[in-house]
Symmetry: C2
Subunit: 301 residues, 2 copies
């Protein structure tokens, strides 16, 4: 992050009804990424994702792949996801899988195999996505979370637990006040700190991070108190209404304390600012990068 | 359910390291389910699932497909899932997708497309799984749940929100006491009742149900008070320690008030009781069916 001067994560959540026009997707084709022919629709989604990554990569440190968008493609979805992840890696980006999984131990282990290192079995090897990070839903508690952390650590990867999300409905459950004091999300934050303690590295940051919606900046200072070593994944910038300027508390432990994710505001920048989709995306990514980096420099000056 | 005298749901969560021995999987092959060659490992998983369904179907009303198990197969996972779902349908069973998804509105819609009716786009059609029901994680609140309900209703399908799950970690978050009284899970139960009100049909049951772990039977009576019209999906029988005899409150609104899911106790019955895997699975499914049905008859006598 220091090398790139960036805390920006490119959210990739292609909607087949809102892809870049065909000429803007050109140059996306590459051989070798897809074993099977994915059909024209899935191919167009893949080309869109590649063109978007090519346009924005320089300003970013990672992609956040929204698994829902790929699952909606049906049987070829995972192959397209794998191909997009490979493309992002070649562009020098970390790959985060945003699937918000969570399930009982045996199923959590299966999800973790799919997201991280794959599965070696008597039937042979099943490849995993090889993600560097994955979002996890903590509602079901410790034993539904720990298999993800274990599998991530084995790969030098990490997890981000949902703590306080960016959507309006976050108030329905995450913000409920607890009898013991604090809100549900603050208890989730305590869980992040607890589970992440063993995973704190040389930089003082842990491999257990937190999804903290950028639309609720009032919570960020408190969140930082509760989770001093957590990397915050901060969705909600742009299309969801959050502003980079509100994020200062995220950066207190250093540049990597806050990762800012933006999806539609980058992929759809041409609709707002004109220009070609790629040019507009590159410019908007660079604007977000510079604005976050200078905020970080001021916050830690 | 009345016709089959059954409330039993066969949990299908194949572990490549614990499939039925090859001869027990014979007869699983069928043409037409898989467009692409899935590789030997995935083929063995598919044959196992087919043989398991063939053995247990008569005693069951539905299958619950654990999506994690299929995602762990990598790029072919979704094709295998589709094939298993098709096989279950041919056996006269409903198909529940157990993925515990939950995300912001646009992503929830994409997940719902994948699980239910598919997606029509300018690029053509992407097929959905066509599930009759799907589990949904409610942590992110109403706007993360409603797209699943909308998509399910369009298909005459339903959803099951996680309310109080069957794992030990459920105590970490779901059981937290709220300042306003009650526990987090009771607030989730209220959400189920609220979101399900419009979906109550002629039988007095709603298309918004609840996952209520059979390992916490003490909660079932209270859950039924809070969610009088909800179908309870009751995992945790057998391998996870729950007993059919504790489930009476689930059945108060009628036979379909409680759906009992069992996975490892059926697929692994031969390890406990001897015999061939198929014979042991059939016998154990029939035992669970009969035991639940007679409990239902006593509870509503």
């Amino acid at each position: 992050m220091a090398q790139r001067g960036s805390q920006l994560v490119l959210g990739v959540d292609p909607d087949p009804a809102a892809l870049w026009p065909a000429p803007a997707r050109e140059g996306g084709h590459e051989d070798g990424d897809l074993a099977a022919a994915p059909g024209e629709g899935a191919r167009a989604v893949l080309d869109h994702c590649r063109a978007l990554i090519a346009a924005a990569a320089e300003a970013c440190v990672a992609v956040k792949l929204q698994l829902a968008s790929f699952e909606a493609l049906g049987a070829v979805g995972r192959a397209v996801l794998d191909a997009v992840a490979a493309h992002a890696r070649r562009a020098g980006l970390l790959v985060f899988a945003d699937g918000k999984r969570g399930d009982i131990d045996v199923s959590a282990r299966a999800y973790a195999s799919a997201l991280f290192g794959g599965l070696d079995s008597p039937l042979g090897r099943f490849e995993g996505l090889g993600a560097d990070g994955a979002t996890v839903n903590p509602l079901m508690g410790r034993d539904a979370i720990e298999p993800f952390i274990t599998a991530a650590r084995r790969q030098g990867a990490g997890v981000f637990l949902l703590v306080r999300t960016s959507n309006p409905g976050a108030a329905d459950v995450e913000d409920l006040a607890l009898a013991a004091g604090g809100a549900v999300w603050e208890r989730l934050a305590a869980l992040v700190a607890e589970l992440g303690e063993e995973g704190i590295g040389a930089a003082g940051l842990s491999d257990v991070g937190a999804v903290m919606g950028a639309t609720a900046p009032a919570h960020l200072r408190r969140a930082r108190e509760l989770m001093p070593g957590a990397v915050f994944l901060l969705p909600g910038i742009g299309a969801q209404g959050g502003a980079v300027e509100d994020l200062a508390p995220a950066f207190l432990p250093g540049a990597a304390g806050g990762l800012i994710t933006a999806s539609r505001s980058i992929a759809g920048a041409h609709q707002l600012h004109g220009g070609s989709p790629a040019q507009a995306a590159r410019a908007e990514a660079e604007r977000l990068r510079a604005s976050a980096w200078s905020l970080f420099e001021r916050a830690t000056a």
